[in-house]
């Protein structure tokens, strides 16, 4: 004895509900197969429902006059035994992800018309655990390799054309060797590799040209330069100042016992002056986030110092340099320089910079037009300190003179802002006591 339920069927070509008008039987009645048990009204007609089971009516789920959704159970019948043949198999079950039913419920044929929607949120079918991945077994014959063009995308091809890059010489790093935008950018400026003939060099003579593969730090630096140079509109300003008071300050610090053991030099002072000036002119310490369409104003200073290493130029930065006092800055600069020389600078130190300083003065150079460290708004180059005739107290005198060169991203920094920043740095260096008025 098993109880089977009969659900309201789709009575014709996509009807989703019907009204149960009346029952022809009652609970407890014994009914036969195909005996008319109810009258049902659809949008199209009044129809009689024949019972799919023979047995005893055990429950009526629906009151007369109620509208019933297709698929909702309307009657339960106690049926003899568990004849497999009395169990109607829903034909669409294996095909659709159509839910349902434990074995007892009479399923509805949903091959006709729209299927009965579930009431839950629309959801995608869940994917198999083992990602069978993208490999579609295509029966198409692979065409003869022959001559094929390099694989890339139309926008990247245009970029390559604009940059003058021949795609046949580029190695693609994308999926299946696809040439990506980065590949083209990195490649631009690369010299065609051609094998130099050994016979060209006569013994004892200097090499006419030496070729070095472009890779590693230099490759990365070059890419960064290109990216920065061609993305941010650079403006450079110069300020030449009499830094004699700073030089005298440094001398007195040297003989001050409180600072013994700490290397305080012109770079330390410039670093400090920069931090103070940033506080007053924050736009030079910001970032143009093109992807997010936002300008990021940093509330801290990660101060990058350009360092020449045997492997090339790197710009490690001192995190939260604005929080350090002079001694702290000195210590940080010392370790930074030592690590750079040793080649042990960590990747963390190389990322996240917000402002950079480059000391071209160590090479005896006065000024330059430095290129921004990509992602930063400004970079300050400090030149050599020279003894030069200068105006001093109304007369010409030999003074220690230094030029500061500031390049900034004109998208982020106006001329006025850049100028004020540079002026502030210059003011501190030409009269360190002025710092008292700025903090």
């Amino acid at each position: 004895m098993v109880v089977k339920e009969f659900a309201m069927p789709d009575l014709g070509e996509g009807l989703t509900e019907s009204e149960l008008v009346s029952w022809n039987i009652a609970v407890g009645d014994t009914i036969e197969l195909n005996q008319v048990i109810a009258e049902v009204e659809t949008a199209k007609a009044l129809v009689q429902l024949p019972s799919p089971f023979a047995g005893k009516v055990s429950k009526l789920f629906v009151e007369p006059g109620t509208t019933v959704q297709v698929g909702a159970p309307i009657i339960a019948v106690e049926v003899e035994g568990g004849e497999p043949s009395a169990e109607p198999a829903p034909p669409s079950e294996s095909v659709e992800g159509q839910s349902q039913e434990g074995g007892e419920r009479n399923s509805v044929l949903v091959g006709y018309g729209p299927s009965v929607e579930g009431t839950g949120r629309p959801k995608r079918r869940s994917r198999a655990a083992a990602a069978a991945s993208a490999a579609t077994p295509e029966p198409t014959s692979v065409p003869e390799p022959g001559r094929e063009r390099p694989r890339s995308t139309p926008p990247v091809r245009k970029l390559a054309a604009d940059l003058g890059v021949d795609l046949t010489t580029v190695t693609g790093t994308g999926q299946d060797g696809l040439i990506t935008r980065e590949d083209v950018v990195a490649h631009s400026g690369r010299v065609e590799a051609s094998v130099p003939s050994a016979a060209q060099t006569r013994p004892g003579q200097r090499e006419r040209e030496v070729r070095t593969p472009i890779k590693g730090v230099r490759k990365h630096t070059a890419a960064a330069m290109v990216s920065s140079a061609f993305t941010a509109p650079h403006v450079s300003e110069f300020l030449t100042i009499d830094v004699t008071p700073t030089v005298e300050l440094l001398d007195s610090i040297k003989s001050n016992r409180a600072f013994s053991g700490h290397r305080i030099n012109i770079l330390t002072v410039v670093a400090k002056a920069v931090c103070i000036a940033i506080e007053r002119n924050p736009t030079v310490n910001s970032h143009w986030d093109d992807a997010a369409g936002e300008i990021v104003q940093f509330g801290y200073v990660n101060l990058g110092i350009a360092a020449a290493t045997p492997r090339g130029l790197i710009v490690p930065n001192i995190k939260d340099a604005d929080q350090l006092d002079l001694i702290g800055l000195a210590g940080a600069l010392t370790s930074l320089t030592e690590e750079a020389r040793a080649g042990t600078t960590s990747p963390a130190d190389l990322g996240g910079g917000t402002f950079s300083i480059t000391n071209i003065g160590v090479f005896g150079i006065d000024a330059g037009t430095p290129i921004l460290n990509p992602g930063e708004a400004a970079i300050l180059a400090m030149g050599a300190i020279r003894r030069q005739p200068w105006e001093h107290q109304g007369e010409v005198a030999l003074r220690s003179v230094m030029t500061l060169s500031l390049s900034f991203d004109h998208r982020l920094v106006d001329g006025e802002q850049g100028s004020r920043f540079l002026a502030d740095v210059g003011a501190i260096l030409s009269n360190p006591g002025m710092a008292l008025t700025m903090v």
């Binding site: 198409t140 014959s141 065409p143 003869e144 022959g146 001559r147 094929e148 063009r149 694989r151 890339s152 995308t153 139309p154 091809r157 696809l178």
Partner: protein, 334 residues
């Protein structure tokens, strides 16, 4: 090998088919005594009799439905629709019956019917005699669709179509019926009816055409060569299925695709080829595929048809476009 016109090549193909298989029967209006309005069935009724080459009443649906019945009975009917524009009364029998019967009967009933349709324009004709309806049939599941462009293919492919157990729409470019070419009746080593052929090699642009415009495409390639552009011409030959592997190999080499057909642009075979090749060859494309087709107007009167049909200049204009050269299409937003 003999020199035959395209229509004579089909005639000889039909003759071979009739001789090789007693179940082959031809049906059509005026195909018997008259030999067909284009003489494609000339002499066949004399040779094979009126029960093999059957003159029918003027009723395209009737002809097609009767062919279905004959196919049920085990025959291999070859039906002629006298002109492209007259195929529409037969459309229901073709699409609802011929195309579906094999599928509908779970493979039990075959419809080895060949439907021959002279098609295309440039013959200075009146209305309804210059149509290109191939897209309707390429769009219909269950049908194969082919179009020959030269006498050898006409001969080979009509025989292949008749031997196929699938229904085949066989589009004959009527403006090329009188073009002559070498024809061999030995088709044992012939390539499959499904395959496309590279008829002119090149490296800069792939130009795909079929039926009447293959000759025009080849002419365009020769003209382009004088300007230093190397055009590879592909005769698609089969429109359902399309031999995408051949087109793909070409576009991987050239990076540029132009497709040309007489039929109207919207929903035409050019759209199918452009979309499929873009899917398959996106990473090789230098430019978007270009289509050179009839305009979306009913086929015009004879004196205007030159302004409807693709010609050498319009094709080369599209070649210019995909080459990135200055052309008259510059400034068109697609």
């Amino acid at each position: 090998m003999t020199q035959l016109s395209l229509s004579a090549a089909i005639n000889s193909g039909l003759r071979r088919a009739l001789a090789d298989d007693p179940k082959v029967v031809l049906l059509g209006e005026d195909i018997g005594k008259l030999g067909g309005v284009f003489r494609v069935t000339d002499g066949l009724q004399n040779e094979f009799g009126p029960e093999r080459v059957i003159d029918t009443p003027l009723a395209e649906a009737g002809i097609m439905g009767t062919a279905v019945g004959l196919a049920f009975r085990g025959y291999r009917p070859v039906v002629e629709i006298q002109f492209d524009g007259f195929i529409y009364p037969a459309f229901d029998q073709i699409v609802a019956q011929v195309a579906k019967l094999h599928y509908r009967t779970g493979g039990n009933v075959k419809m080895p019917i060949t439907i021959r349709v002279p098609y295309g324009g440039a013959i200075g004709a009146v209305e309804h005699h210059s149509e290109s309806p191939e897209a309707y049939f390429a769009h219909t599941a269950g049908l194969r669709v082919v179009s020959c462009s030269n006498p050898q293919d006409a001969h080979t492919m009509i025989r292949q179509a008749i031997s196929s157990d699938d229904p085949v729409l066989f589009f004959e470019p009527k403006r090329r019926y009188w073009v002559k070419g070498e024809v061999s009746e030995d088709i044992s080593g012939a390539p499959s009816m499904e395959s496309a052929h590279v008829v002119h090699e090149g490296t800069d642009v792939t130009l795909a055409a079929y039926g009447p415009l293959v000759i025009t495409a080849r002419d365009a390639a020769l003209a382009a060569a004088e300007e230093g552009i190397s055009v590879e011409v592909i005769d698609l030959r089969s429109l359902s299925p399309v031999d995408f592997a051949t087109v793909e190999a070409s576009v991987r080499k050239t990076g540029r695709l132009v497709i040309t057909h007489e039929a109207q642009q919207s929903g035409g075979l050019g759209a199918e080829v452009a979309a499929s090749i873009t899917e398959r060859c996106f990473f090789y494309l230098e430019a978007a595929p270009a289509r050179v087709t009839g305009f979306d107007v009913p086929y015009p009167a004879a004196k205007l048809e030159e302004h409807f049909l693709p010609d050498l200049d319009r094709i080369l204009d599209a070649v210019d476009r995909v080459m990135g050269r200055q052309n008259s299409l510059t400034g068109w937003s697609a």
